[in-house]
Protein backbone atom coordinates (compact mmCIF):
# COMPACT_ATOMS: atom_id res chain seq x y z
CA UNK A 1 0.00 0.00 0.00
CA UNK A 2 2.79 2.35 0.92
CA UNK A 3 4.53 1.39 -2.29
CA UNK A 4 1.51 2.39 -4.35
CA UNK A 5 1.19 5.65 -2.51
CA UNK A 6 4.84 6.37 -3.15
CA UNK A 7 4.46 5.59 -6.82
CA UNK A 8 1.40 7.79 -6.92
CA UNK A 9 3.41 10.71 -5.61
CA UNK A 10 6.17 10.03 -8.10
CA UNK A 11 3.68 9.89 -10.92
CA UNK A 12 2.13 13.15 -9.80
CA UNK A 13 5.53 14.79 -9.68
CA UNK A 14 6.57 13.58 -13.11
CA UNK A 15 3.19 14.53 -14.50
CA UNK A 16 3.62 18.01 -13.10
CA UNK A 17 6.89 18.51 -14.94
CA UNK A 18 5.36 17.24 -18.15
CA UNK A 19 2.30 19.42 -17.65
CA UNK A 20 4.40 22.57 -17.39
CA UNK A 21 6.10 21.62 -20.65
CA UNK A 22 2.99 20.41 -22.40
CA UNK A 23 1.03 23.61 -21.83
CA UNK A 24 3.60 25.65 -23.70
CA UNK A 25 3.72 23.14 -26.53
CA UNK A 26 -0.06 22.95 -26.84
CA UNK A 27 -0.42 26.71 -26.68
CA UNK A 28 2.04 27.33 -29.46
CA UNK A 29 0.71 24.47 -31.52
CA UNK A 30 -2.86 25.64 -31.15
CA UNK A 31 -2.09 29.09 -32.44
CA UNK A 32 0.69 28.53 -34.93
CA UNK A 33 0.32 24.88 -35.95
CA UNK A 34 3.94 24.63 -34.96
CA UNK A 35 5.41 21.72 -33.01
CA UNK A 36 8.16 23.59 -31.28
CA UNK A 37 10.89 21.09 -30.61
CA UNK A 38 13.06 23.91 -29.42
CA UNK A 39 10.75 23.99 -26.41
CA UNK A 40 13.05 21.43 -24.83
CA UNK A 41 15.86 23.93 -25.03
CA UNK A 42 13.72 26.45 -23.18
CA UNK A 43 13.62 23.88 -20.40
CA UNK A 44 17.39 23.58 -20.58
CA UNK A 45 18.24 27.24 -20.80
CA UNK A 46 16.38 28.07 -17.58
CA UNK A 47 18.67 26.15 -15.25
CA UNK A 48 21.75 27.22 -17.20
CA UNK A 49 20.84 30.88 -16.74
CA UNK A 50 20.32 30.11 -13.06
CA UNK A 51 23.70 28.40 -12.94
CA UNK A 52 25.40 31.41 -14.51
CA UNK A 53 23.67 33.91 -12.24
CA UNK A 54 24.46 31.91 -9.11
CA UNK A 55 28.07 31.79 -10.21
CA UNK A 56 27.93 35.54 -10.56
CA UNK A 57 26.96 35.76 -6.94
CA UNK A 58 23.17 35.94 -6.82
CA UNK A 59 21.19 33.90 -4.31
CA UNK A 60 19.49 30.90 -5.85
CA UNK A 61 15.91 32.13 -5.58
CA UNK A 62 16.62 35.43 -7.26
CA UNK A 63 18.75 33.76 -9.90
CA UNK A 64 15.95 31.33 -10.67
CA UNK A 65 13.36 34.07 -11.04
CA UNK A 66 15.65 36.10 -13.29
CA UNK A 67 16.42 32.99 -15.28
CA UNK A 68 12.72 32.48 -15.96
CA UNK A 69 12.45 36.04 -17.22
CA UNK A 70 15.53 35.62 -19.40
CA UNK A 71 14.16 32.38 -20.82
CA UNK A 72 10.93 34.15 -21.70
CA UNK A 73 13.14 36.57 -23.58
CA UNK A 74 14.75 33.71 -25.46
CA UNK A 75 11.27 32.53 -26.36
CA UNK A 76 10.39 35.93 -27.79
CA UNK A 77 13.60 36.05 -29.82
CA UNK A 78 12.94 32.56 -31.10
CA UNK A 79 9.55 33.62 -32.36
CA UNK A 80 10.71 36.88 -33.87
CA UNK A 81 13.77 35.56 -35.67
CA UNK A 82 12.92 32.04 -36.73
CA UNK A 83 9.17 31.56 -36.74
CA UNK A 84 7.62 34.90 -37.65
CA UNK A 85 9.35 35.06 -41.04
CA UNK A 86 7.93 31.63 -41.73
CA UNK A 87 4.30 32.31 -40.85
CA UNK A 88 2.05 30.39 -43.13
CA UNK A 89 4.75 27.96 -44.23
CA UNK A 90 3.88 24.27 -44.45
CA UNK A 91 3.79 22.33 -41.18
CA UNK A 92 6.87 20.30 -41.91
CA UNK A 93 8.96 23.36 -42.68
CA UNK A 94 8.07 24.79 -39.29
CA UNK A 95 8.85 21.53 -37.54
CA UNK A 96 12.23 21.25 -39.20
CA UNK A 97 12.98 24.86 -38.39
CA UNK A 98 12.20 24.18 -34.76
CA UNK A 99 14.72 21.33 -34.90
CA UNK A 100 17.26 23.78 -36.27
CA UNK A 101 16.54 26.24 -33.47
CA UNK A 102 16.90 23.41 -30.98
CA UNK A 103 20.30 22.48 -32.37
CA UNK A 104 21.32 26.13 -32.38
CA UNK A 105 20.45 26.59 -28.72
CA UNK A 106 22.01 23.32 -27.61
CA UNK A 107 25.27 24.12 -29.31
CA UNK A 108 25.27 27.70 -28.12
CA UNK A 109 25.25 26.38 -24.59
CA UNK A 110 27.92 23.81 -25.47
CA UNK A 111 29.98 26.59 -26.92
CA UNK A 112 29.69 28.63 -23.76
CA UNK A 113 29.85 25.98 -21.09
CA UNK A 114 31.13 22.83 -22.73
CA UNK A 115 29.10 19.70 -23.22
CA UNK A 116 29.68 18.00 -19.88
CA UNK A 117 27.12 17.60 -17.17
CA UNK A 118 27.35 20.13 -14.40
CA UNK A 119 26.26 19.73 -10.82
CA UNK A 120 23.24 21.83 -9.90
CA UNK A 121 22.27 22.40 -6.35
CA UNK A 122 19.21 24.16 -5.09
CA UNK A 123 18.60 25.78 -1.70
CA UNK A 124 18.74 23.59 1.41
CA UNK A 125 15.04 23.51 2.10
CA UNK A 126 14.46 21.69 -1.16
CA UNK A 127 16.79 18.94 -0.18
CA UNK A 128 14.79 17.54 2.72
CA UNK A 129 12.55 14.57 3.05
CA UNK A 130 9.20 14.67 4.81
CA UNK A 131 7.55 11.62 6.27
CA UNK A 132 3.82 11.45 5.61
CA UNK A 133 3.22 8.43 7.76
CA UNK A 134 2.61 4.84 6.85
CA UNK A 135 6.10 4.57 5.46
CA UNK A 136 5.39 7.04 2.75
CA UNK A 137 7.72 9.97 2.35
CA UNK A 138 8.07 12.80 -0.08
CA UNK A 139 11.08 14.94 -0.73
CA UNK A 140 10.52 18.66 -0.46
CA UNK A 141 11.60 19.23 -4.02
CA UNK A 142 8.91 16.86 -5.26
CA UNK A 143 6.39 18.65 -3.13
CA UNK A 144 7.56 21.97 -4.45
CA UNK A 145 7.27 20.76 -8.03
CA UNK A 146 3.70 19.61 -7.53
CA UNK A 147 2.67 22.79 -5.74
CA UNK A 148 4.40 25.02 -8.26
CA UNK A 149 2.70 23.24 -11.14
CA UNK A 150 -0.66 23.53 -9.43
CA UNK A 151 -0.21 27.23 -8.74
CA UNK A 152 0.91 27.96 -12.28
CA UNK A 153 -1.92 25.94 -13.76
CA UNK A 154 -4.44 27.85 -11.68
CA UNK A 155 -2.91 31.18 -12.63
CA UNK A 156 -2.88 30.11 -16.26
CA UNK A 157 -6.54 29.11 -16.15
CA UNK A 158 -7.46 32.44 -14.62
CA UNK A 159 -5.44 34.19 -17.27
CA UNK A 160 -7.16 32.52 -20.21
CA UNK A 161 -10.64 32.84 -18.78
CA UNK A 162 -10.63 36.18 -17.03
CA UNK A 163 -8.39 38.43 -19.06
CA UNK A 164 -9.09 39.75 -22.53
CA UNK A 165 -5.62 38.78 -23.69
CA UNK A 166 -6.09 35.27 -22.41
CA UNK A 167 -9.49 34.86 -24.01
CA UNK A 168 -8.03 36.26 -27.23
CA UNK A 169 -5.37 33.57 -27.06
CA UNK A 170 -7.97 30.83 -26.78
CA UNK A 171 -9.93 32.37 -29.61
CA UNK A 172 -6.88 32.59 -31.86
CA UNK A 173 -6.07 28.94 -31.20
CA UNK A 174 -9.65 28.03 -32.09
CA UNK A 175 -10.08 29.96 -35.27
CA UNK A 176 -7.35 32.15 -36.68
CA UNK A 177 -9.51 33.66 -39.40
CA UNK A 178 -12.23 34.78 -37.05
CA UNK A 179 -9.61 36.10 -34.62
CA UNK A 180 -8.19 38.30 -37.35
CA UNK A 181 -11.61 39.50 -38.43
CA UNK A 182 -12.57 40.44 -34.93
CA UNK A 183 -9.46 42.57 -34.65
CA UNK A 184 -7.37 40.57 -32.20
CA UNK A 185 -3.72 41.57 -32.29
CA UNK A 186 -2.37 38.27 -33.51
CA UNK A 187 1.29 39.19 -33.06
CA UNK A 188 0.71 40.12 -29.46
CA UNK A 189 -1.16 36.87 -28.84
CA UNK A 190 1.65 34.85 -30.34
CA UNK A 191 4.32 36.65 -28.37
CA UNK A 192 2.31 36.09 -25.20
CA UNK A 193 2.01 32.39 -25.97
CA UNK A 194 5.76 32.14 -26.28
CA UNK A 195 6.35 34.11 -23.09
CA UNK A 196 3.96 31.91 -21.12
CA UNK A 197 5.25 28.69 -22.64
CA UNK A 198 8.90 29.62 -22.18
CA UNK A 199 8.32 30.77 -18.63
CA UNK A 200 6.65 27.52 -17.66
CA UNK A 201 9.35 25.48 -19.36
CA UNK A 202 12.01 27.41 -17.49
CA UNK A 203 10.30 26.73 -14.17
CA UNK A 204 10.10 23.04 -15.08
CA UNK A 205 13.75 23.06 -16.07
CA UNK A 206 15.04 24.72 -12.91
CA UNK A 207 13.01 22.46 -10.65
CA UNK A 208 13.95 19.37 -12.58
CA UNK A 209 17.59 20.35 -12.48
CA UNK A 210 17.40 20.72 -8.71
CA UNK A 211 15.68 17.38 -8.42
CA UNK A 212 18.24 15.38 -10.38
CA UNK A 213 21.10 17.50 -9.12
CA UNK A 214 22.66 18.13 -12.49
CA UNK A 215 22.21 19.94 -15.77
CA UNK A 216 23.58 19.40 -19.26
CA UNK A 217 22.99 20.95 -22.68
CA UNK A 218 20.85 18.12 -24.03
CA UNK A 219 18.69 17.68 -20.96
CA UNK A 220 15.68 19.14 -22.71
CA UNK A 221 15.59 16.80 -25.62
CA UNK A 222 13.81 13.76 -24.25
CA UNK A 223 11.46 15.78 -22.01
CA UNK A 224 10.12 17.73 -24.96
CA UNK A 225 9.48 14.56 -26.90
CA UNK A 226 7.64 13.18 -23.86
CA UNK A 227 5.71 16.41 -23.42
CA UNK A 228 4.77 16.16 -27.05
CA UNK A 229 3.50 12.61 -26.53
CA UNK A 230 1.47 13.99 -23.66
CA UNK A 231 -0.23 16.56 -25.89
CA UNK A 232 -1.05 13.91 -28.46
CA UNK A 233 -2.50 11.58 -25.84
CA UNK A 234 -4.53 14.32 -24.29
CA UNK A 235 -5.71 15.91 -27.49
CA UNK A 236 -3.74 17.80 -30.04
CA UNK A 237 -4.09 21.52 -29.55
CA UNK A 238 -6.34 21.22 -26.53
CA UNK A 239 -4.80 22.75 -23.43
CA UNK A 240 -6.79 20.83 -20.83
CA UNK A 241 -5.99 17.80 -22.95
CA UNK A 242 -2.30 18.54 -22.80
CA UNK A 243 -2.40 18.77 -19.01
CA UNK A 244 -4.43 15.58 -18.76
CA UNK A 245 -2.12 13.78 -21.13
CA UNK A 246 0.88 14.96 -19.13
CA UNK A 247 -0.38 13.44 -15.88
CA UNK A 248 -1.47 10.28 -17.67
CA UNK A 249 1.99 9.97 -19.13
CA UNK A 250 3.65 10.68 -15.80
CA UNK A 251 1.71 7.91 -14.10
CA UNK A 252 2.23 5.59 -17.04
CA UNK A 253 5.99 6.04 -16.94
CA UNK A 254 6.20 5.40 -13.21
CA UNK A 255 3.97 2.40 -13.62
CA UNK A 256 6.12 1.04 -16.41
CA UNK A 257 9.29 1.67 -14.42
CA UNK A 258 8.08 -0.37 -11.49
CA UNK A 259 6.32 -3.04 -13.50
CA UNK A 260 8.85 -3.81 -16.22
CA UNK A 261 11.36 -6.51 -15.32
CA UNK A 262 14.73 -5.15 -14.38
CA UNK A 263 17.05 -4.81 -17.32
CA UNK A 264 14.36 -3.63 -19.66
CA UNK A 265 13.77 -0.25 -18.08
CA UNK A 266 15.58 1.29 -21.02
CA UNK A 267 12.63 0.24 -23.11
CA UNK A 268 10.44 2.56 -21.11
CA UNK A 269 11.01 5.39 -23.53
CA UNK A 270 10.52 3.14 -26.52
CA UNK A 271 7.18 2.00 -25.12
CA UNK A 272 6.12 5.60 -24.61
CA UNK A 273 6.81 6.33 -28.25
CA UNK A 274 5.20 3.17 -29.45
CA UNK A 275 2.17 4.41 -27.56
CA UNK A 276 2.44 7.71 -29.41
CA UNK A 277 2.33 5.94 -32.73
CA UNK A 278 -0.63 3.85 -31.66
CA UNK A 279 -2.56 6.93 -30.54
CA UNK A 280 -1.80 8.74 -33.77
CA UNK A 281 -3.19 5.84 -35.73
CA UNK A 282 -6.15 4.87 -33.62
CA UNK A 283 -7.37 8.10 -32.13
CA UNK A 284 -5.34 10.98 -33.49
CA UNK A 285 -7.41 13.55 -31.72
CA UNK A 286 -6.40 12.14 -28.36
CA UNK A 287 -8.63 11.92 -25.30
CA UNK A 288 -10.08 15.39 -25.29
CA UNK A 289 -9.44 16.67 -28.76
CA UNK A 290 -12.14 17.06 -31.32
CA UNK A 291 -11.61 15.55 -34.72
CA UNK A 292 -12.93 18.55 -36.55
CA UNK A 293 -10.80 21.62 -36.30
CA UNK A 294 -12.24 23.83 -39.00
CA UNK A 295 -14.39 26.78 -38.09
CA UNK A 296 -17.13 26.29 -40.63
Amino acid sequence: MAFIAQQFINGLMLGSIYALMAIGLALIFGILRLINFAHGELLMVGPFFTFALVKAGLPFGLAAVLAVVLTAGVGILMERLAYRPLRGAPDVTLLLTSLAVSIFLQNSVILTYGGETKPFKGPEFLDQRLQLGGGVGVSTIDLFIMVAALVLLVLFTLFVTRTMLGVSMRATAENLLAAQLVGININRVITTAFVVGAGMAAVAGVLWGVRIGRIDPIMGFIPVLKAFVATVIGGFGSIPGAVLGAYVLGFLEIFLASWLPAGTTGYRDAIVFALLIVVLLVRPQGILGSSEREGV
Partner: protein, 234 residues
Protein backbone atom coordinates in the same frame (compact mmCIF):
# COMPACT_ATOMS: atom_id res chain seq x y z
CA UNK B 1 -17.53 55.97 -47.38
CA UNK B 2 -15.87 52.99 -49.02
CA UNK B 3 -14.37 53.21 -52.48
CA UNK B 4 -12.97 50.19 -54.25
CA UNK B 5 -11.13 50.81 -57.48
CA UNK B 6 -9.79 48.34 -60.05
CA UNK B 7 -9.21 45.67 -57.46
CA UNK B 8 -7.39 42.56 -58.68
CA UNK B 9 -6.89 39.62 -56.35
CA UNK B 10 -5.21 36.30 -57.05
CA UNK B 11 -5.56 32.94 -55.29
CA UNK B 12 -2.28 31.29 -56.16
CA UNK B 13 -2.36 31.32 -59.92
CA UNK B 14 -6.03 32.05 -60.39
CA UNK B 15 -7.41 35.55 -60.67
CA UNK B 16 -10.42 35.76 -58.38
CA UNK B 17 -11.12 39.47 -58.81
CA UNK B 18 -10.53 41.05 -62.19
CA UNK B 19 -10.34 44.74 -61.61
CA UNK B 20 -13.60 45.48 -59.83
CA UNK B 21 -14.78 48.88 -58.68
CA UNK B 22 -17.57 49.68 -56.32
CA UNK B 23 -18.59 52.16 -53.69
CA UNK B 24 -20.57 52.13 -50.49
CA UNK B 25 -22.26 55.34 -49.39
CA UNK B 26 -22.86 56.37 -45.81
CA UNK B 27 -26.06 55.04 -44.34
CA UNK B 28 -26.96 52.76 -47.22
CA UNK B 29 -27.30 49.03 -47.51
CA UNK B 30 -25.35 47.87 -50.53
CA UNK B 31 -25.82 44.31 -51.73
CA UNK B 32 -23.53 42.24 -53.89
CA UNK B 33 -25.29 39.27 -55.42
CA UNK B 34 -24.02 36.55 -57.67
CA UNK B 35 -23.47 32.83 -57.97
CA UNK B 36 -21.07 30.69 -55.98
CA UNK B 37 -17.47 31.46 -56.83
CA UNK B 38 -18.23 34.85 -58.32
CA UNK B 39 -15.75 36.52 -56.01
CA UNK B 40 -18.10 38.06 -53.46
CA UNK B 41 -16.41 36.61 -50.40
CA UNK B 42 -13.02 37.39 -51.87
CA UNK B 43 -14.07 41.02 -52.11
CA UNK B 44 -15.07 41.21 -48.47
CA UNK B 45 -11.96 39.41 -47.29
CA UNK B 46 -9.77 41.81 -49.23
CA UNK B 47 -11.54 44.78 -47.70
CA UNK B 48 -10.92 43.30 -44.25
CA UNK B 49 -7.24 42.80 -44.98
CA UNK B 50 -7.21 39.01 -44.94
CA UNK B 51 -6.23 38.93 -48.60
CA UNK B 52 -3.80 41.24 -50.31
CA UNK B 53 -4.72 42.54 -53.75
CA UNK B 54 -2.21 42.48 -56.52
CA UNK B 55 -3.37 45.85 -57.74
CA UNK B 56 -6.07 48.41 -57.16
CA UNK B 57 -7.12 50.44 -54.16
CA UNK B 58 -9.62 50.42 -51.34
CA UNK B 59 -10.33 53.74 -49.67
CA UNK B 60 -12.30 54.07 -46.46
CA UNK B 61 -13.07 57.72 -45.73
CA UNK B 62 -10.07 58.53 -47.84
CA UNK B 63 -7.72 56.14 -46.01
CA UNK B 64 -6.01 53.48 -48.14
CA UNK B 65 -6.68 50.00 -46.77
CA UNK B 66 -4.74 47.70 -49.05
CA UNK B 67 -1.49 47.88 -47.12
CA UNK B 68 -3.05 47.59 -43.66
CA UNK B 69 -3.34 44.55 -41.44
CA UNK B 70 -6.73 43.14 -40.40
CA UNK B 71 -5.99 44.50 -36.94
CA UNK B 72 -5.67 48.05 -38.23
CA UNK B 73 -8.73 47.77 -40.45
CA UNK B 74 -10.93 46.74 -37.56
CA UNK B 75 -9.48 49.70 -35.70
CA UNK B 76 -10.73 52.01 -38.44
CA UNK B 77 -14.29 50.86 -37.87
CA UNK B 78 -14.94 47.99 -40.27
CA UNK B 79 -16.44 44.81 -38.80
CA UNK B 80 -16.95 41.56 -40.65
CA UNK B 81 -19.41 38.75 -40.09
CA UNK B 82 -17.81 35.99 -42.13
CA UNK B 83 -19.18 33.39 -44.49
CA UNK B 84 -19.98 30.24 -42.59
CA UNK B 85 -20.27 32.11 -39.30
CA UNK B 86 -16.80 31.21 -38.01
CA UNK B 87 -17.73 31.48 -34.38
CA UNK B 88 -15.27 30.48 -31.66
CA UNK B 89 -16.85 27.10 -30.95
CA UNK B 90 -15.07 26.37 -27.69
CA UNK B 91 -15.85 29.75 -26.20
CA UNK B 92 -19.16 30.81 -24.72
CA UNK B 93 -21.63 33.08 -26.47
CA UNK B 94 -20.78 35.88 -24.09
CA UNK B 95 -17.05 35.44 -24.67
CA UNK B 96 -17.61 35.45 -28.42
CA UNK B 97 -19.57 38.67 -28.21
CA UNK B 98 -17.08 40.40 -25.97
CA UNK B 99 -14.30 39.48 -28.37
CA UNK B 100 -16.12 41.55 -30.96
CA UNK B 101 -15.23 44.53 -28.83
CA UNK B 102 -11.62 43.45 -28.24
CA UNK B 103 -10.15 46.69 -29.54
CA UNK B 104 -12.44 48.98 -27.61
CA UNK B 105 -11.48 50.70 -24.37
CA UNK B 106 -14.84 51.86 -23.02
CA UNK B 107 -16.17 49.16 -20.66
CA UNK B 108 -19.43 50.90 -19.84
CA UNK B 109 -20.31 51.35 -23.49
CA UNK B 110 -19.28 47.79 -24.26
CA UNK B 111 -21.70 46.53 -21.62
CA UNK B 112 -24.40 48.72 -23.11
CA UNK B 113 -23.75 47.35 -26.57
CA UNK B 114 -23.88 43.84 -25.20
CA UNK B 115 -27.36 44.55 -23.86
CA UNK B 116 -28.34 45.96 -27.21
CA UNK B 117 -27.20 42.80 -28.98
CA UNK B 118 -29.12 40.68 -26.49
CA UNK B 119 -32.21 42.77 -27.16
CA UNK B 120 -31.78 42.29 -30.87
CA UNK B 121 -31.18 38.55 -30.46
CA UNK B 122 -33.00 37.31 -27.34
CA UNK B 123 -31.98 33.74 -28.13
CA UNK B 124 -28.35 34.70 -27.55
CA UNK B 125 -29.14 36.04 -24.13
CA UNK B 126 -30.74 32.73 -23.19
CA UNK B 127 -27.65 30.88 -24.30
CA UNK B 128 -25.08 33.37 -23.14
CA UNK B 129 -23.09 30.86 -21.07
CA UNK B 130 -23.27 28.04 -23.57
CA UNK B 131 -20.40 27.12 -25.81
CA UNK B 132 -20.89 28.61 -29.26
CA UNK B 133 -20.30 25.28 -30.93
CA UNK B 134 -23.52 23.92 -29.43
CA UNK B 135 -25.70 26.56 -31.08
CA UNK B 136 -27.82 25.91 -34.14
CA UNK B 137 -26.86 27.35 -37.49
CA UNK B 138 -29.28 30.20 -37.19
CA UNK B 139 -28.16 31.03 -33.68
CA UNK B 140 -24.53 30.98 -34.76
CA UNK B 141 -25.39 33.41 -37.53
CA UNK B 142 -26.99 35.72 -35.01
CA UNK B 143 -23.86 35.36 -32.90
CA UNK B 144 -21.60 36.24 -35.80
CA UNK B 145 -23.62 39.34 -36.60
CA UNK B 146 -23.86 40.27 -32.94
CA UNK B 147 -20.12 39.86 -32.55
CA UNK B 148 -19.52 42.18 -35.47
CA UNK B 149 -21.93 44.73 -33.99
CA UNK B 150 -20.01 44.69 -30.74
CA UNK B 151 -17.24 46.57 -32.48
CA UNK B 152 -19.69 49.47 -32.96
CA UNK B 153 -18.51 49.58 -36.55
CA UNK B 154 -18.92 52.39 -39.01
CA UNK B 155 -19.16 49.83 -41.80
CA UNK B 156 -20.61 46.36 -41.32
CA UNK B 157 -19.66 43.61 -43.75
CA UNK B 158 -22.10 40.68 -43.86
CA UNK B 159 -21.01 37.62 -45.81
CA UNK B 160 -23.77 35.22 -46.84
CA UNK B 161 -25.88 35.46 -43.69
CA UNK B 162 -28.54 33.18 -45.19
CA UNK B 163 -26.19 30.35 -46.08
CA UNK B 164 -27.42 27.00 -44.85
CA UNK B 165 -30.31 28.38 -42.86
CA UNK B 166 -33.95 27.34 -42.90
CA UNK B 167 -36.34 29.82 -44.57
CA UNK B 168 -37.86 30.86 -41.25
CA UNK B 169 -34.40 31.66 -39.90
CA UNK B 170 -33.52 33.53 -43.04
CA UNK B 171 -36.56 35.76 -42.60
CA UNK B 172 -35.62 36.37 -39.00
CA UNK B 173 -32.06 37.35 -39.89
CA UNK B 174 -33.18 39.67 -42.62
CA UNK B 175 -35.66 41.31 -40.28
CA UNK B 176 -32.72 42.16 -38.09
CA UNK B 177 -30.67 43.39 -41.04
CA UNK B 178 -33.53 45.64 -42.12
CA UNK B 179 -33.81 46.98 -38.59
CA UNK B 180 -30.09 47.73 -38.47
CA UNK B 181 -30.43 49.62 -41.72
CA UNK B 182 -33.31 51.62 -40.34
CA UNK B 183 -31.23 52.55 -37.35
CA UNK B 184 -28.72 54.10 -39.73
CA UNK B 185 -25.98 51.49 -40.08
CA UNK B 186 -23.93 51.33 -43.24
CA UNK B 187 -23.94 47.75 -44.46
CA UNK B 188 -22.22 45.89 -47.28
CA UNK B 189 -24.15 42.68 -47.76
CA UNK B 190 -22.96 39.75 -49.84
CA UNK B 191 -25.62 37.19 -50.65
CA UNK B 192 -26.45 34.25 -52.86
CA UNK B 193 -30.08 34.69 -51.96
CA UNK B 194 -30.69 37.51 -54.40
CA UNK B 195 -34.37 37.77 -53.61
CA UNK B 196 -33.92 38.64 -49.94
CA UNK B 197 -30.88 40.77 -50.63
CA UNK B 198 -32.59 42.97 -53.20
CA UNK B 199 -35.62 43.39 -50.98
CA UNK B 200 -33.61 44.92 -48.18
CA UNK B 201 -30.92 46.77 -50.12
CA UNK B 202 -30.79 50.34 -51.43
CA UNK B 203 -28.39 49.60 -54.25
CA UNK B 204 -26.83 46.46 -55.57
CA UNK B 205 -24.05 45.07 -57.72
CA UNK B 206 -24.16 41.79 -59.61
CA UNK B 207 -20.87 39.88 -59.72
CA UNK B 208 -19.95 37.14 -62.10
CA UNK B 209 -16.60 35.34 -62.27
CA UNK B 210 -14.63 38.13 -60.68
CA UNK B 211 -16.25 41.03 -62.45
CA UNK B 212 -19.06 43.47 -61.79
CA UNK B 213 -21.70 42.79 -64.42
CA UNK B 214 -24.48 45.13 -63.37
CA UNK B 215 -25.15 47.84 -60.85
CA UNK B 216 -27.96 50.10 -59.84
CA UNK B 217 -30.82 50.68 -57.42
CA UNK B 218 -32.07 47.43 -55.93
CA UNK B 219 -35.58 47.81 -57.20
CA UNK B 220 -34.33 48.29 -60.74
CA UNK B 221 -32.17 45.22 -60.62
CA UNK B 222 -34.99 43.18 -59.16
CA UNK B 223 -37.10 44.12 -62.15
CA UNK B 224 -34.29 43.45 -64.63
CA UNK B 225 -35.15 40.49 -66.87
CA UNK B 226 -31.64 39.03 -66.98
CA UNK B 227 -31.26 39.25 -63.24
CA UNK B 228 -34.65 37.67 -62.81
CA UNK B 229 -33.72 34.78 -65.01
CA UNK B 230 -30.28 34.18 -63.63
CA UNK B 231 -30.74 34.85 -59.95
CA UNK B 232 -34.38 35.08 -59.07
CA UNK B 233 -35.63 31.92 -60.67
CA UNK B 234 -37.87 33.86 -62.97
Amino acid sequence: MLQVQDLSVYYGGIQALKGISLEVRQGELLAIIGANGAGKTTTLRTISGILRPRSGSIRFDGKELTKLSPYDIVGLGIAHSPEGRQVFSGLTVAENLRLGAVQRRDPAEIDADLERVYTLFPRLKERSTQKAGTLSGGEQQMLAIGRALMARPRLLLLDEPSLGLAPLMVDRIFEVIARLKEEGSTILLVEQNAHMALEVADRAYVMETGRIKLSGPAAELAANADVERAYLGG
